[in-house]
């Protein structure tokens, strides 16, 4: 099963469950509170996902680190390569 099919299956299952509860297709005689809770659920899930994404981006921005060891290593390698090339007669 591809990822696309998995996602489509999950989304359609959630959609069916939402439709059953919201339009009361099974005559469950739910309390009106639960219906009130159910009908904005898709938008609510979307907003929760947006909040999570925003928080993740914010957290990564706040704890962004630069790799100083890697930078030193890379600069040393560049120096090495330049000297090597100069030895072989390349003018820079």
């Amino acid at each position: 099963m591809t990822k696309l099919l998995q996602w489509l299956l999950a989304v359609s299952l959630i959609g069916i469950a939402w439709g059953l509860v919201t339009f009361d297709l099974l005559d469950l005689h739910l309390l009106p509170q639960y219906k009130e809770l159910a009908w904005p659920m898709p938008v609510y899930l979307l907003v929760v996902f947006g909040c999570y994404s925003l928080a993740t981006v914010g957290y990564r921005v706040a704890t962004f680190n630069d790799c100083e060891d890697a930078a030193k290593e890379l600069q040393a390698q560049i120096k090495e390569a330049k000297e090597d090339l100069r030895k072989k007669g390349l003018k820079m």
Binding site: E36, V43, V47, R60, A62
Partner: protein, 83 residues
Amino acid sequence: MATGADQAVGFGLVGFSLLLFTYYSIWVVVLPFVDSDHVIHSYFLPREYSVILPGIAALILLLFVGTFIGIVTWKNRKPKKVD
């Protein structure tokens, strides 16, 4: 390391999203179970706005993303025509 401004912006984003999540969760999940004459209802808009406002926000966001992509592609295409 992230600079002070980066950290301020980042934790500001985290705080804003947590605040939004809390407020919206209370609005959508908790409020149906609270009596409709309770004082807490005066701090929230009527229930239908809990869908309308995110819808408007999503429309504005899509509009901005669309204009941004449009401007970027338009700017990137122009120099090629000059060459």
